[in-house]
């Protein structure tokens, strides 16, 4: 399958008074047509910054993309002019943000927010845009679309607003949708509705999806391939089944062991990862996970482990990636 998005050695840094924050520190991954790729990690690991970099939405200053390549459908995203990137945003790569409360404009009607995009990108006239907006709301499961178009975001519930966000993302039939924690602010039953909707739309229309999340259950259900991030780097990459059944990085293993699970008998104690994530201004020459790692050896303090193959399409950035064997049994 052809990759529509290739991110290569992307580096995004923030230049703050406290020092340079290496928020994204050389990540490489690709997304194929119609595929769902998950980016997993905890707060501050750089997963959102990595996604915003693809659309060049990093506020400058203080942030800047300092290195790497982003190729989307043959285009070099980082070389596009501002006018050219605006034609990509929302038209060919759309974004669904976490907070449906703050990412819709409170003073515009739902209808206007949808038609504005359509008129701008697709040169539709008002009537055609209105008709298409009605159709879109129906597609994302909002009944009584005519009335909803005239309403403002505060009239809608959180789940409904997220549906509107998805309708906006879908409206120009993009090739790629980036969903940044699309369901974190929603209740479980609504979360299930929204994720099923996104999956259904992506399968039906062949849209590729990047889902950024910290929820390992969501990843297991919806992702084809998974990138696990820690401290600005991808530390493990593979298919969902590889990541869940043969985790090959101590951090992935730790994440899987620290969530209580409904599909297993209750255990007496959880097995958390001790310690705190590192300060991204203070990274040293070794592996960033080393202080919290049970498997750390002397070499981990001296050299940053590169992302190397442990299996077919399965990569891990750990010097001891082949020594985790007997411990993996506990997570699978």
């Amino acid at each position: 399958m052809a990759a529509i998005l290739e991110v290569e050695n992307l580096q995004t840094q923030f230049f703050t008074s406290a020092g340079t924050v290496r928020a994204v520190d050389g990540i490489t991954y690709s997304v194929n047509r119609g595929e769902t790729v998950a980016i997993v990690g905890e707060s501050g690991c750089g997963k959102s910054v990595g996604a915003l970099s693809i659309l060049r939405l990093i506020p400058d200053p203080p942030g800047r993309i300092v290195g790497g390549n982003i190729r989307f459908m043959g285009m070099d995203i980082l070389a596009l002019s501002d006018a050219e990137i605006r034609k990509v945003r929302g038209r060919r790569i759309a974004m669904v943000f976490q907070e449906p409360m703050t990412s819709l404009n409170p003073v515009l009607t739902i209808g206007r927010q949808l038609t504005e995009t359509l008129e701008h990108h697709l040169d539709m006239d008002r009537a055609a845009a209105d008709a298409r907006a009605t159709e879109l709301l129906g597609m994302v499961g909002i009944s009584d679309a005519k009335r909803r178009l005239a309403q403002y975001p505060h009239h809608l519930s959180g789940g409904m607003r997220q549906r509107v966000m998805i309708a906006m993302a879908m409206c120009c039939e993009p090739e790629l949708i980036i969903a940044d924690e699309p369901t974190t602010a929603l209740d479980v039953t609504i979360q299930a509705q929204i994720l099923e909707l996104m999956r259904d739309l992506s399968k039906r229309l062949g849209v590729a999806l990047i889902i950024i999340t910290h929820n390992l259950g969501v990843v297991a259900r919806y992702a084809d391939r998974v990138n696990v991030m820690y401290a600005g780097k991808i530390i493990e990459q593979g298919s969902a089944s590889q990541i869940y059944h043969q985790p090959s990085h101590p951090y992935t293993l730790g994440l899987l062991n620290s969530v209580p699970r409904l599909d297993r008998p209750r255990q007496a104690k959880l097995d958390p990862i001790e310690g705190q994530p590192p300060d991204l201004t203070q990274l040293d020459a070794g592996c960033a996970f080393r202080p919290r790692c049970r498997f750390a050896v002397a070499r981990c303090a001296e050299e940053i482990p590169p992302l190397e193959a442990v299996g077919d399409g399965h990569l891990s950035a750990c010097w001891r990636r082949n020594d985790l064997g007997e411990n993996v049994g506990r997570a699978t």
Binding site: E42, D187, V188, T189, A192, V218, V219, P260, P272
Partner: protein, 338 residues
């Protein structure tokens, strides 16, 4: 007279009823007008719920946003005075006490809030935050002794003792939540309400805090009301679980019983909506997300409040309010079709 002498030690033995909530109702008025606040409607945030919590036990209270779980916690804490109903804690009905008489009881019931960012005063050092309740309640008026006790609480909660001089913004989310826990423990409470206490934390930190809460429960013989929306965390931590929907408890059972054998359609829907971190299991599971959204508690549906979303609703559900009954020992459910 120091405050704590006014209240007899709770004297409740392990396994006995510590908290008995009977037919609790909390209605918030919706008003119109600027000068004359005319009451035009009522939000029935909590609408007649009853449950008991035994000493040493953890009761989970789950449900989606707006179902009244936090309001229930606030009523028990007497941060809201309930519209009606009884809240009997260690034999005393808290709902009938006035503010002065309540004061000593407040020591016995403490709370850990969800948001470790907004529940700590940003202008106080964390050591002072943890020490303040002891000062306010006159438990440890001596500053030196109080500091010793604060240090002790810090180490009990897994915080480096030198952090007592830090401000909340100098700490991570997990550390702040530990400060919140230390503050709740400072008065030696019998009962702690954890209101979404681990929801805002990252997975690896969340596991640390869950383990801490469990250790403290054993060490100090605490009783918890654990309010949460994360069903996997509740299953891990709780002995019994109550499921709330639109101000009512729809199901209450022992933890394993509820998860292995959920009877109410809403509980079943909640459980099936939680994705499991295993792609093979997920590939085989059929997801049938429950339709629609939670209706407004200002205008709840007639009959069974869940009937508009319920996959197994029959005609009578629209008019008949189902009775909350015990279908087998310890397993209560409010559904006429069970």
């Amino acid at each position: 007279m120091s405050a704590q002498e006014a209240v007899p030690a709770s004297g409740v033995q392990k396994g006995e009823v510590l908290l008995d909530v009977r037919n609790l109702k909390m209605y918030f008025p919706v008003t119109e007008g600027i000068i004359f606040h005319k009451v035009v409607a009522e939000v029935k945030a909590v609408d007649g719920i009853s449950f008991q919590i035994h000493k040493g036990e953890t009761l989970g209270l789950v449900g989606e946003s707006g179902c009244g779980k936090t309001t229930t916690g606030r009523c028990i804490l007497q941060l809201e005075r309930a519209t009606s109903g009884e809240i009997i804690f260690a034999g005393q009905n808290l709902a009938e006490l006035d503010a002065n008489a309540l004061r000593p009881w407040r020591q016995k019931i403490q709370v850990i809030f969800q948001d470790p960012y907004s529940s700590l005063n940003p202008r106080m050092k964390t050591g002072d935050i943890v020490g303040e309740p002891m000062y306010v309640h006159g438990i440890e008026p001596d500053a030196g002794k109080r500091e010793r006790r604060v240090k002790e609480l810090f180490s009990v909660c897994g915080l480096p003792v030198k952090m007592i001089d830090r401000y909340p913004h100098e700490m991570s989310g997990g550390q702040r939540q530990r400060v919140g826990i230390a503050r709740a423990l400072s008065l030696n409470p019998d009962f702690i309400i954890c209101d979404e206490a681990v929801s805002a934390l990252d997975v690896s930190i969340q596991a640390q805090v869950i383990n801490l809460l469990e250790d403290l429960r054993e060490e100090f013989g605490l009783t918890y009301l654990f309010i949460a929306h994360d069903l996997s965390v509740v299953r891990h931590l709780c002995h019994r679980v109550a499921v709330m929907y639109l101000g009512k408890i729809v199901e209450l059972a022992d933890c394993d019983e509820l998860y292995d054998n959920p009877l109410h359609p809403y509980t079943q829907a909640l459980l099936s909506a939680v994705p499991v971190p295993d792609p093979d299991i997920e590939a085989k599971r059929a997801h049938q997300p429950v339709k629609g959204e939670v209706p407004s508690p200002m205008n709840p549906p007639s009959g069974c409040v869940f009937h508009p979303r319920c996959p197994s609703a029959v005609d009578s559900c629209k008019s008949l309010i189902p009775e909350f009954r015990e279908v087998k020992p310890g397993h209560w459910v409010a559904c006429s079709e069970v």
